[in-house]
């Protein structure tokens, strides 16, 4: 139970910190916040396959094929995809943010494009 609690708290703290940073009006903070949120989400995906200790997702002969004896391999595959995508998107956002801060003169989140 305590491990579950620790993991849940970790994800919660990461998300809270990420959301706090995203809500700030500085692009650099927003990028950092999004990175924290995506870490939290990646952990969340990973642990949705349940916490498995010392179990590999590889079938062994003689061991019954249930999740009690193995780690769930699918969330591991999903989280890899999610990591790659969020990494790439953060890079794109950084490039745009650098450009925006160069054009606006500072890295405040601008409201110029409004309605």
């Amino acid at each position: 139970m305590s491990l579950e609690l620790l993991v849940a708290l970790g994800i919660g703290v990461l998300t809270a910190a990420g959301v706090y940073l995203v809500l700030r009006a500085r692009l650099f903070d927003v990028v950092l916040g999004l990175t924290l949120v995506s870490y939290a989400v990646n952990l969340f995906i990973f642990f949705m396959g349940r916490l498995a200790i010392a179990n590999a997702p590889i079938i062994k002969s003689g061991v019954p094929h249930t999740l009690a004896n193995y780690a769930d391999p699918l969330p591991q595959a999903l989280v890899l995809t999610a990591i790659v995508i969020s990494f790439g998107m953060t890079a794109v956002l950084l490039a745009i943010a650098v450009r925006a801060s160069a054009e606006n003169g500072d890295d405040a989140v601008s409201n110029e494009s409004g309605h």
């Binding site: 692009l27 999903l78 998107m89």
Partner: protein, 507 residues
């Protein structure tokens, strides 16, 4: 031909991907060859779209097991009537946009053709996939391409709009991942048809989690579809984008709308515990979206902002119909979707012609009054479609939606909101239209190309002329959508092909 039909659901994804790769190899220096590649891809996609419509209209529902994996384990693509319709609409709009883009400076832009084709791949994939995580991936593909397209010919306005747009969509992606993995955690599957079966059979203790996941999914799709209160990115983004690109973006909100329809008909089908609460929330949010969009339209001072708000409004009415949920409302919504997407794409192209910023090269040698007449006629037809005036397709769609709305529990509320916001939208269009066209408050550019707009308007008119067969198709689509067991049986019953040669396991 036989093989092509067998791989039909894969083609709309494979063709643009291949085209994008080829266009990258050819390189930006030879625009003509890049353009040829893009045209070949779009013609292929149009062909595939027509074949798909033809096949699905005869009751054929193609399931494609990618990599030959059995359905709930591997990724499945499903080509049903809804996806066939969206595929054809996407490739048609793509053709119009490419035609319009040829006449602007866009083709020589940075990676325009590859980005354009990747965007099409993302759109097609999002319409076809029957797997929730795969839907996420295709959303990312189309978003990544749209970031690049939005930043074509960058200036300060575009960079700022892109910042907002990218940040918002990254948060949306995070929510999508949370919802998808939550659903995986409680059901152990990500295949939409399998989810549909498994969510229904969940023990009562897991049901609140399933509903929570459903609401997070709805939030993500609402960001894409620009439902209130998540619509504020749309007007700024669409206004900032170069004109032919914002015409392409007109179909991007429809991805969110189609995803909502899928969520309400397949993942949480009518009559299940999740559907009840979700439709209750949407039946409040979507009509309010429509009303606020009409208010925004009244306040709009520029044509592009006005079109942005009417895209929000049309998303509102389609989602309202999806929340009403009966076959009539769904059918009307699909009919409305085709017309409103075409009309808003065409209006975006017209906005370029009526752009009052390029006053320098306006009104050139060609006959002055003819330009105004043609522009005015095109504007009138598109505006009548978007404000649902008879005889154009917007009216037919909205009338059918209203017929479905009176069967709902709250007919007065629904019909009042739909009609009042439609009327306000009409005032907004009359206001802007008279300022732009009657008072000639703007300059009209020489018609670099009326061809793409002409094609769009011709298709809008033919939507009215051939309303009966098209409506028969949308009726069948709605009936098919309301029977999730068709999709469940087809997806889960699809057997992988026999392997040609069994591989020996390595020792």
């Amino acid at each position: 031909m036989e093989t092509l039909i067998k791989h039909l659901p894969m083609l709309p994804i494979a063709i643009p991907l291949l085209g994008a790769a080829l266009a990258l190899i050819v390189g930006e220096k030879s625009i003509v060859r890049q353009r040829t590649i893009a045209w070949i891809c779009i013609l292929f996609m149009l062909g595939v779209g027509v074949v798909a419509i033809n096949h699905t209209a005869r009751g054929y529902l193609a399931i494609y097991l990618v990599g030959n994996w059995q359905a709930p384990f591997g990724i499945a693509l499903a080509l049903d009537k809804l996806s066939a319709m969206m595929l054809l609409l996407t490739s048609f709009i793509a053709a119009i946009v490419l035609l319009a883009a040829q006449r602007s400076q866009l083709l020589s832009g940075t990676f325009f053709i590859p980005l354009f084709l990747l965007q099409l791949m993302g759109l097609n994939g999002a319409f076809l996939t029957a797997d929730l995580f795969n839907l996420f991936v295709f959303f990312e593909v189309l978003l990544a391409a749209s970031y690049g397209l939005l930043l074509q010919q960058p200036d300060q306005q575009k960079t700022n709009a892109a910042t907002h747009y990218v940040v918002l969509n990254l948060i949306g992606s995070a929510l999508f991942l949370i919802a998808a993995s939550l659903l995986y955690g409680i059901t152990g599957t990500l295949n939409m048809a399998d989810l549909s079966v498994k969510i229904h059979a969940l023990p009562p203790s897991s049901r609140p989690l399933a509903v929570a996941a459903g609401f997070i999914l709805l939030t993500v799709f609402a960001i894409k579809a620009a439902l209130l209160p998540l619509n504020f990115w749309l007007t700024g983004t669409y206004r900032a984008a170069e004109t032919p690109i914002s015409a392409l973006f007109a179909i991007m909100t429809k991805v969110g709308v189609v995803a909502i329809i899928r969520a309400l008909t397949l993942i949480y089908p009518d009559g299940t515990f999740g559907n009840v609460v979700m439709t209750k929330a949407l039946i409040v949010i979507a009509p309010i979206t429509m009303f606020v969009a009409a208010c925004g339209a009244l306040a709009a001072r520029e044509l592009k902002t006005l079109i942005g708000w009417s895209i929000v409004g049309s998303a509102g009415i389609i989602v309202t119909a999806a929340a009403i949920g009966n076959a009539k409302a769904l059918s009307g919504a699909l009919f409305y979707l085709i017309g409103s997407t075409l009309a808003s794409a065409c209006l975006f192209l017209l906005a370029a012609a009526l752009d009052n910023r390029n006053t320098s090269n306006s009104v050139a040698t060609t006959d002055h009054s003819t330009i105004w007449k043609v522009t005015g006629a095109l504007f009138l037809i598109c505006a009548m479609t978007l404000t649902s005036l008879p005889p154009f397709s917007g009216f037919i769609g909205k009338a059918v939606i209203l017929a479905g709305a009176v069967q709902h529990l709250w007919p007065t509320y629904l019909t009042t909101v739909i009609l009042v916001s439609g009327f306000m939208m009409l005032i907004a269009y009359v206001n802007i239209g008279s300022r732009l066209l009657l008072k000639r408050d703007s300059s009209v550019n020489p018609p670099a190309g009326y061809l793409p707009m002409g094609i769009a308007v011709a298709s809008i008119v033919s939507l009215t002329l051939f309303a009966a067969p098209i409506q028969r198709f949308t009726d069948q689509t709605a009936i098919e959508l309301r029977q999730p067991q068709i999709m469940q049986g087809n997806v889960l019953g699809k057997r992988p092909m026999d392997k040609i040669k069994k591989m020996e396991p390595a020792k």
